[in-house]
C-alpha cells in the first residue's frame, strides 16, 4: 500500500498537478465498479428498506403516492401475529435450522477427512483424487439438482441400490415425515401418529413444540445430501492448503516423542488448522442459510412445506403472491439471522482454547 510513496518522493514532481492527476486516474479506474456496485448492491438495499414498509404489489413504481404504507407490519406479521404468514415463516426457519445443523458439521468433517487422506504422504494420485472431490463444486447447481432428482426418484438409483441390501427406500421427494419424529417413534418414546398433548397443545411462534421437534423431513434429507456432496470439495481444498503449510518437521517431532497418529492429529494438526476450521464453519453457516437453487429445482418447498426455506419463501412471497413488502421483509430478517449467527459463532470460537478441549481423548 505504502510502497508507491518512496517512488513518488524520489521522482522530482514534474507538474504541480501530479496528485490531482493521480486522483482523477484512480477514480476513473474504479468508476465502473463503483457505479455498478452502487446501482445493484447499495441502491437495492435502500429501495428494499422502503418497500418492506409498504404493501406494494408490483404495479407501477413503489414510490408512487398510492402505494399503501404499512409501517413495520410486514415484520411484526412474521413474529407476533397469529396467521399463515408467521406459520410459513417459522416453518421455513425450522426447516433451514435443521438443514444447517446437519449440513455444516457434515461437510466440515467430510472435507477435513478427505483433506487428511489426500494429504497423506504415502498415497499417490493426489491430483486425481483432489480433482474428483472438487469437481461437483464447480458444476451448475441446477444441472446437479436434476441429476439428484433422477437418482432419488422412486425407481431411481438410490432405491435400486438400497434394494440390493434388502432395504425398501422411502419415496424421497413426497415424504414429509420428520426424521426426528421417525427416530422418536423408532425408539418407542413417542407415537408419531398420536403425539402427546403436552407437545401438540402449545409452542412458541405459532408452531407447536411437536412441529418444532420434527427434524428435517425425508425430502429435505435429499437436499442435505446433495449440498454436502457438492460443497465438501471446496472446503477440502481449503483444509488441504492449510495442511500443506504445516511443516513436516513438526509432525516428525511428534513421532519421535512417541505420539500416536490420533494424538498427533489432536495436538499438532488440529490446533494449527483452527483458523481454517473457523473459516470453513463461518462460510458454511453463511452459505447454508441461503439455500435456494436446490429447493427451487428439486422441491419448490414441498412436500407439506417441509423444504421451504426463508430464501425460497422470500422469493415465493414476492414473485408468486406479489407481496413484495412481505418478501423483502423476509429477506431482511434472513440477513439479520445470518449476521447474528456469524457473530455468535465468532464469539464462541474465540473463547475456545484448544488446550482445554482434550478431555475426550
Amino acid at each position: 500500500m505504502a510502497d508507491t510513496a518512496p517512488a513518488r518522493a524520489t521522482r522530482p514532481g514534474p507538474r504541480l498537478s501530479a496528485a490531482v492527476r493521480e486522483n482523477i486516474a484512480g477514480w476513473l479506474f474504479v468508476a465502473p465498479v463503483v457505479v455498478i456496485l452502487g446501482l445493484f448492491m447499495l441502491l437495492p438495499i435502500l429501495m428494499a428498506m422502503w418497500v418492506s414498509l409498504t404493501d406494494w404489489n408490483g404495479q407501477g413504481s413503489p414510490f408512487r403516492s398510492g402505494v399503501p404504507f404499512v409501517g413495520t407490519e410486514n415484520y411484526t406479521r412474521l413474529f407476533t401475529e397469529d396467521g399463515l404468514a408467521r406459520q410459513d415463516f417459522m416453518t421455513s426457519v425450522r426447516n433451514n435450522f435443521y438443514y444447517v445443523a446437519i449440513v455444516v458439521p457434515a461437510q466440515t468433517v467430510l472435507a477435513l477427512g478427505l483433506a487428511l487422506i489426500v494429504n497423506a504422504r504415502m498415497l499417490k494420485g493426489k491430483t486425481f483424487f483432489r480433482a474428483a472431490f472438487f469437481f461437483p463444486s464447480v458444476t451448475s447447481s441446477v444441472a446437479i439438482s436434476v441429476v439428484f432428482l433422477f437418482i432419488f426418484a422412486n425407481s431411481g438409483a438410490v432405491t435400486s441400490l438400497l434394494k440390493l441390501f434388502g432395504i425398501d427406500g422411502p419415496q424421497w421427494f413426497s415424504d414429509s415425515r420428520g426424521v426426528l419424529h421417525l427416530l422418536l417413534g423408532g425408539l418407542g418414546l413417542v407415537d408419531p401418529a398420536d403425539p402427546p398433548a403436552a407437545l401438540t397443545d402449545g409452542g412458541p411462534f405459532g408452531l407447536s413444540w411437536w412441529e418444532w421437534l420434527s427434524g428435517p423431513s425425508v425430502a429435505m434429507c435429499t437436499i442435505i445430501m446433495l449440498v454436502v456432496w457438492t460443497t465438501s470439495g471446496t472446503f477440502m481444498l481449503m483444509f488441504l492448503a492449510a495442511l500443506q503449510d504445516i511443516p513436516v518437521t513438526l509432525e516428525e517431532a511428534g513421532m519421535l516423542d512417541g505420539a500416536g497418529r490420533w494424538q498427533r492429529f489432536r495436538h499438532i494438526t488440529l490446533p494449527l488448522l483452527k483458523p481454517t476450521l473457523f473459516l470453513v464453519l463461518t462460510l458454511g453457516l453463511i452459505a447454508t442459510w441461503q439455500v435456494f437453487d436446490q429447493v427451487y429445482v428439486m422441491s419448490q418447498g414441498n412436500p407439506a412445506k417441509t423444504t421451504l426455506t426463508p430464501a425460497f419463501l422470500s422469493y415465493q412471497t414476492a414473485f408468486r403472491s406479489f407481496e413484495y413488502g412481505s418478501g423483502t421483509a423476509i429477506s431482511f430478517v434472513l440477513f439479520a439471522i445470518i449476521v447474528v449467527l456469524a457473530l455468535v459463532q465468532r464469539w464462541i470460537m474465540r473463547d475456545r482454547d484448544p488446550a482445554r478441549r482434550t478431555r475426550r481423548s
Partner: protein, 281 residues
Amino acid sequence: MKRRDPRSLASTFAGYFVLVFFALVFLYPFVIQVANSFKTEPDAAANALSPIPHPFTTSGYEKVFLNTDLPLWLGNSVLVTILVTAGRVLLCSMAGYALARIRFRGRKALFSAVIGVMAVPPVVLFVPKFLVLNQFGLYDSYTALILPLIVDAAGVFIMKQFFESVPVSVEEAARIDGAGVWRTFWSVVLPMARPALITLTIISFQGSWNEFAHTLVAVQSPELFTLPRGIADLVSGSLGKGTQYPLKLGAAVLATIPVAVIFVVFQRYFVRGANEGAEKG
C-alpha cells in the same frame, strides 16, 4: 523409500480404499447422468444404476434440441457468459489495480466498501435487485441479465491482492519513461498479471455460466432464459411433460460440459500458475 512394516501397508491399503470409495461417491452421479441421457425412457426408469445404455439412443438429445427452446437458452448462456466474463476481468482488474497502486483520495474507504459488499449474502439482495431493475425499466431485458453481474466485489479483491504482490520496479520504469497510468496498466502491468487473470477468468466463467438465481429476478420471457433457467423450468413443470429423464439429463449434461472441460484443462495450470506467481512475487 521402501516400507515393509505391515501396519503401514495396511494403512496404505485402507487409505486407498477410502479414496476410491469417495471418488466413486463423488463421480458416479456424473456417470449416471451421462449414461442415462443416452438411454430410452423405460431403460432409464428400470436400470437407473447401470452405466451402460441398453439400447443406446440419442433420442433424449434429439428431443431436447427439437422440442424445447434449448438452442435459444444455449445461445443466451454463451452471450451472457462471454460478456460477463470479459466485463468482470477488465473492470475488476482496473479497480484492483487502482486500489493497490494508484494513490487517490478515498481509496481506503472504497476498499472497505468493497469488503462490505462482499459480506452481504446474495440471497438477501434477490428481491431488492428486482426492485431496481423494475424501477429503471430494465426488467426482462438482456441488460438486466448481464449488467448487474458484470462486476464482482470478490474479483476486485483478488486482483488488488495480486497487484500488491507484484514488485513496483517495472511500473516505475515505465512511468519514468513517460507512460501514462492507462498505458502502464494496459501494456506493462496486465501482461504480468497472467496467473491472476486466468484465475479470475475461470471463476467468472464458471460463476456466470452456472448463474441461476439472478435470472429469476431479472427476466421472465422464455426468449431470455439462460441454460440453467431453461432447465429449471423444464424440470419444475411448466414446460416438462411426464418424467422424460433422458431428455432432462441430456440438458443437464450440456450445462455441465463447458465447466467440466475448463476444469480438466486448467486444473494443472491453475496450481502451477498459482505456485509460480507466489514464488516470483
